[in-house]
């Protein structure tokens, strides 16, 4: 036995967690859980392939690389870089337990459900459909300004040293309570000016109640607007109907065009809910951008139990991924040409991949965001408002229930989601939407396993697109660095 062997036990190299992908002939690795993306050169690839094939010791690996013609110096550097970046390691890989975030995570946003009433009766709506979980009996139909103001005070108090906070107005149909929205927006601005914080606003609307006065107010106060619309008349009116079954398309389109014409001070996006009859991604996208003039369009499947008629189902979700892929490649072409493309699903994912996000939680619910119901009850997010699940206090009766919030955060951390521990997509997914999990499995802490393949497919696609843009037009990615 040589001296070297005596001093260094023959520990085999192992690959650590990463997702390898290729773009334009270049090999990349997406490291898990860090979320770092590296392009590998030839020696890096040789090393990874060799480790995958035979798990060699360092001596065996070095000998193999020397035989391929690499110099000792470059072999040493490559191994050192791969080891320190946690792409490979000597000895068995033992997953590190993710750490819990600090207890004092400051609040950044409240979503105020300022009414639980709606003038539409969309079949799939999670607030009114068969899968409804909110219990609005005995709760006021409209939030009063005193409740809204208490919510804003709570946000300011709980936001700690954050310089900027955000108030989202939500419903029901948000604009049914426009007078109160107006007064609470003014209140938030006044209070934030007093304490030296910046405040931003956004709302979601079905567009039926947009008037010039309303739009001018939104434009004046730079309120970001998300409009729910599902495509052209035929597609939109399948689900988005008035209580008498009449479609909403003809009512909303002229109003949306007026909104896009008059409101230029913040982003206005379309939000499409995909369901069993509405899964024509490109057709919808083209209609909303070209015919109506939206700058950005985002898609999301309806949250529903699988046996609901409007549930999108596995086959249709396959079609949706195809449709997404088709639009995503178009996004890539436009990005390489330096042009804006309005498919926000790609844009949002690329932004997360660019920063290298590694999420402890799937979203900000309960962490930086809380929902408030019309009566002032605080809940996990707007989707759980007024339900029995995720209750976290009352804005006028003691504010945030920190014990409940901590309990929720401890039990929903990625470290507690065992299904996710071997998945390479967990830095961006972290287990999926709590509401989606609750509707499917009756448990907010369950991972949304019915979407796993879909999410991995989507993130792999976006990684390949990201890699290609990084090679062919890297300056395009600078826009994702602005925060």
């Amino acid at each position: 036995m040589s001296t070297t062997e005596t001093l260094t036990p023959a520990v085999p190299y192992r690959q650590r967690e990463f997702h390898a992908f290729e773009s334009e002939g270049t090999q990349f690795v997406y490291l898990v859980p860090s979320g770092a993306i590296f392009a590998l050169d030839k020696i890096g690839l040789e090393i990874l392939d060799r480790i995958k094939e035979v798990s060699p010791t360092r001596e065996e690996l070095v000998r193999f690389l020397l035989e391929l013609g690499y110099q000792p110096g470059e072999i040493n550097t490559a191994l050192m870089e791969l080891e320190h970046s946690e792409v490979i390691q000597r000895g068995d890989v033992v997953a590190e337990k993710p750490r819990l975030p600090g207890k004092t995570f400051p609040l950044q946003r409240v979503v105020l459900n300022i009414t639980n009433q709606c003038n539409l009766a969309c079949t799939y709506c999670y607030e009114y459909s068969e899968d409804k979980i909110s219990k609005t009996e005995g709760k006021p139909k409209y939030m009063t300004s005193s409740v809204a103001e208490a919510s804003i005070d709570m946000l300011i108090k709980e936001s700690g040293d954050r310089p900027s906070i955000h108030v989202t107005f939500f419903g029901g149909e948000t604009l049914l309570n426009f007078p109160m929205l107006r007064s609470s927006l003014d209140y938030a601005k006044r209070k934030c000016a007093e304490v030296g914080k910046h405040v931003e606003f956004s709302l979601t609307t079905n567009a039926t109640l947009l008037t010039e006065q309303v739009v001018d107010f939104l434009a004046e106060h730079k309120v970001g607007v998300t409009v729910s619309i599902d495509g052209n008349r035929e597609l939109n009116d399948k689900m988005r109907v008035f209580a008498d079954g009449r479609g909403s398309y003809d009512v909303i389109v002229p109003r949306i065009k007026m909104l896009l014409e008059r409101h230029k001070t913040n982003s206005i996006g379309a939000r499409v809910t995909l369901s069993s009859g509405v899964s024509h991604v490109r057709r919808i996208y083209e209609h909303l951008t070209k015919e109506i003039g939206f700058y950005a369009v985002g898609f999301s499947p309806a949250t529903a139990k699988p046996n609901r008629l409007y549930s999108i189902g596995e086959t249709k979700m396959g079609n949706v991924l195809e449709g997404f892929e088709d639009l995503a490649w178009e996004y890539r072409d436009w990005a390489i040409a330096g042009r804006h493309h309005g498919f926000t699903n790609v844009n949002d994912t690329l932004k997360e991949l660019h920063s290298g996000i590694s999420k402890a939680y799937p979203c900000g619910a309960g962490l930086g965001l809380l929902g408030v119901g019309t009566a002032g009850d605080i809940n996990l997010c707007h989707r759980f408002v007024d339900s029995d699940v995720g209750q976290m206090g009352h804005v006028q009766k003691g504010g945030v229930d920190h014990a409940a919030r901590d309990e929720f955060l401890n039990t929903h951390h990625i470290g507690a989601r065992y299904d996710c521990h071997t998945c390479w997509a967990r830095p961006v997914c972290a287990g999926g939407c709590y509401h989606e999990a609750f509707i499917h499995y009756g448990d907010t802490s369950a991972a949304t396993l019915h979407y796993c393949d879909w999410i991995r497919g989507w993130n792999d696609l976006c990684l390949r697109i990201y890699g290609e843009i990084s090679l062919r037009n890297p300056s395009f990615l600078d826009r994702f660095s602005e925060n």
Partner: protein
């Protein structure tokens, strides 16, 4: 990095950490860039001899004997100063030197 190129922001943070953990020691002059000599602010503004240049960028007033390198250098700045092991073997070596600026001649010479 040579064998892998950082692409996203997180990868650049990883790269910085890797370089910090594995990078070679560099001579002070190598970090100046654009023909400028680099010497750290702070140390040379105080009386801390042993640097390659003094506060004016010159070399005339430098402390010559390696025994006079003070522990500011190797503790505060990571400079490989020639100081005794003052934790274990020579805990009293600066006892007579209350102020380095005035008493540096009183620093003991420690023989191994």
């Amino acid at each position: 990095m040579h064998s892998m190129k950082p692409i996203n922001r997180k990868a650049r943070s990883v790269e910085a950490a890797v370089i910090a953990a594995t990078g070679d020691v560099q001579a002070l002059q190598q970090r100046g860039g654009e023909g400028k000599v680099y010497y750290p602010m702070g140390c040379t503004l105080n009386f801390t001899p042993g640097w390659e240049v003094d506060v004016s960028g010159g070399t005339a007033g430098l402390c010559q004997p390696v025994e006079r390198d003070l522990f500011d250098c190797h503790l505060g700045c990571g400079w490989p100063a020639q100081v005794p092991d003052h934790l274990n073997n020579a805990p009293d070596w600066t006892d007579k030197c209350a102020s380095a600026a005035n008493d540096w001649r009183k620093v003991d010479i420690v023989f191994p």
